[in-house]
C-alpha cells in the first residue's frame, strides 16, 4: 500500500489529508494560529495517529497554502492554485472553473479535464475580496462564523455597502446597527458585496461550465446564494475547505509515480 500526505496551511485554518492508494484515508483540521511551524507539526502528528501510521510510511508529502513555505518537515511545496485545480478535479471531474474563497484571498481558476491549470486570477491585495471581509463584519455583529450564512438568508432587505474597503465597511456596519437595521440585512449586504468582488474576478477570466466553489467560503450558504443570484451555478463539495489539501496529496502521489 502507498500513503501520501497533503498539508494546507491556510491563513485561518490548516487542513491535512492522508490518502491510501489514491483514496482519502483520514483528514484533520486545526486553527492555524500564529505559529505555523508548530501547527504543521501538530497537524501531521494528528493525521498519523488517526491513520495509525508512522512518518516513514508516508511516501511523499506536499504542502500548500499561505504559510506552507516554513514547514519544518521534509516535503515538496506546490502553490495553492495547482492544488485547488487537482483537488476539485478529483471530486468533480466535469468542473472547468473553480472559485476558491479563502480567508485572505479569492481566486478563480480555469482547469482542463486532467486538473491542469489553464488560467487563473487572484484578489489578494485587499481584505474586501476575501472571506476576511465577512469575518470582520460578523465580528462587529458578534455572530459566530458558522451562523452568518444561514442568518443572512433570512434577510428581506439587504443593505448596500458603499465602500470597497473592509475597514470602512466595518464603520458602515456600525452605522447601520445604530440606525436599527437588522443583523440579517447587514450580513446579507456584506455577502452581496463579496459576491460582487468575486463576480468581477470570474468576469475577468470568463466562466466555463461547470463551476464549483472551494475553500472556507464554500461553507457559507449565504455567499453561495449571492453568487448564484449573479448567475453562477455552483457545485459545492461536501468539505470545500479540504479541496486544496486533497489536491496536495494527489500531487504527492503523482510526483512519486
Amino acid at each position: 500500500m502507498a500513503w501520501f500526505m497533503g498539508i494546507d496551511i491556510g491563513s485561518g485554518t490548516s487542513k491535512g489529508i492522508i490518502t491510501e492508494d489514491g483514496k482519502l484515508k483520514v483528514y484533520h483540521l486545526l486553527t492555524s494560529g500564529i505559529n505555523y511551524r508548530m501547527t504543521a507539526q501538530r497537524l501531521m502528528e494528528k493525521l498519523l495517529t488517526k491513520a495509525d501510521l508512522q512518518a516513514e510510511d508516508i511516501a511523499c508529502t506536499v504542502t500548500t497554502g499561505h504559510g506552507a513555505d516554513i514547514i519544518p518537515f521534509n516535503n515538496q511545496h506546490v502553490d495553492d492554485i495547482q492544488c485547488c485545480a487537482k483537488g476539485i478535479n478529483r471530486i468533480f471531474p466535469s468542473v472547468r472553473t473553480v472559485i476558491d474563497v479563502q480567508g485572505q484571498s479569492s481566486q478563480v481558476i480555469r482547469l482542463d479535464e486532467k486538473g491542469q491549470v489553464i488560467d487563473f486570477t487572484i484578489s489578494e491585495r485587499c481584505a474586501s475580496g476575501s472571506g476576511r471581509f465577512i469575518e470582520v463584519i460578523a465580528n462587529i455583529l458578534q455572530i459566530e462564523l458558522k451562523d452568518i450564512g444561514p442568518l443572512s438568508l433570512k434577510s428581506e432587505n439587504p443593505v448596500t455597502f458603499t465602500t470597497g474597503c473592509a475597514v470602512f465597511g466595518e464603520s458602515e456596519a456600525i452605522s447601520r446597527v445604530a440606525e436599527g437595521i437588522s443583523k440579517e440585512d447587514i450580513l446579507a449586504g456584506v455577502h452581496k458585496a463579496l459576491a460582487d468582488q468575486i463576480f468581477a474576478l470570474v468576469d475577468r477570466l470568463g466562466l466555463e461550465e461547470q463551476c464549483a466553489v472551494s475553500g472556507g467560503g464554500g461553507l457559507n450558504v449565504g455567499l453561495i446564494k449571492k453568487l448564484e443570484e449573479l448567475g453562477i451555478k455552483l457545485l459545492v463539495p461536501p468539505q470545500p475547505q479540504l479541496v486544496n489539501a486533497l489536491g496536495a496529496a494527489i500531487m504527492a502521489d503523482e510526483q512519486v509515480i
Binding site: S11, C126, G164, A166, V167, F168
Partner: protein
Amino acid sequence: MRNNSPEDARYISWEVTNIYFAGIDLGSTITKVVIIDRSEEICAKMISHTGAEHRRLANQLMKEALEQAGLTFEKVSYVVATGYGRMMVPFADRHITELTCHARGVFKLFPNVGLAIDIGGQDSKVLKISGGKLIDFTMSDKCAAGTGRYLEVIANVLGLKLEDLGTISLQSTNKISISSTCTVFAQQEVISRLSEGVPLEDIVAGIHDAIASRVARMVQRLKAESDVVFTGGVAKNIGVVKALEEKLGCEVLVPEEPLFSGAIGAALLAREITLKALAQGEPIPKGQRRLDEATFFK
C-alpha cells in the same frame, strides 16, 4: 426663526467692526470649530471627537466656541461648514468642500507653500495651491490604508495609544517593511512580526513608512515643486512627518495645530463672502440657520 425684514442681520453697514465669522469642519473622526473677527484674528477654537451624533455635536461645539469667545450666535454673521459631515450642520449658511477650505486655511498659515498634504481619519488628500486657491488635487478615500484609520487599527493591535506612535517609532534602528497594502492584512502581518519578537519600535516605524510611501506617490502624481505643508490629525505624528521628509526629500512643515486648517479656511471664506456682500451693499446671503438642538435619532 428670524424674520426676513430689512432690519435683520443680513443687512449690516460696511463700517461695523464687531462682526464675527465661524468655520466648522465636521471630519469623520474629529470636529473643529473656529471663530474669527473682521481682522482675521481667532477668537475661539474648539475641538471634539465626532462620534455618531453629528448634528447634536455640531450644535454643542458651536455653543462652546461662542461661550469661549463671549459671543451670542446672532453676533456671528456667517457660518461655513466643511468636512465629511458638512451637510449635517443645521446652522451653517453655506457648505463648502474641505478641499477649498483647506487650501484657504493653509494659505493663511503658510502663504508661500504650494503643496499641502492632509491626512485625516478617513481619507488623505494632496492639494496644489496657488494664491490661496486650489489648482489641482489627488485624493484617496476608497481604502483605509494611507489614512489615519490605518494608524488607529495598528495602534489598537499593538496596544498603544495613537498619540504615542510617533515618539516610539523614533527609537527604531531597523524598521521593518510591511508587505500588505490592506489595513486588515497589515494588522495580521504586525501580529506575526510581534510573535517573531521584532521590537515594537521597528514595527511602528515600518507602519509609518508604509503610510508615507502611499502618500508620497500621491504627491509625485501632482508634480509640484515647492515646500510642503502637512495638516490633519496624522500630522501630529512625528514619525509620519519624518518618514514623509525621507520619501519626499524635502522639509515638511507642520502648523502648530495641524487639525484646524480646514476650519480656519472655512471661517476665512465666511469672512470673504460677508465682506464682499457688504462692499457691494448687498444682503449677506444667509441660509435658514438656527442653533437648535438637532438629533439624528428621532
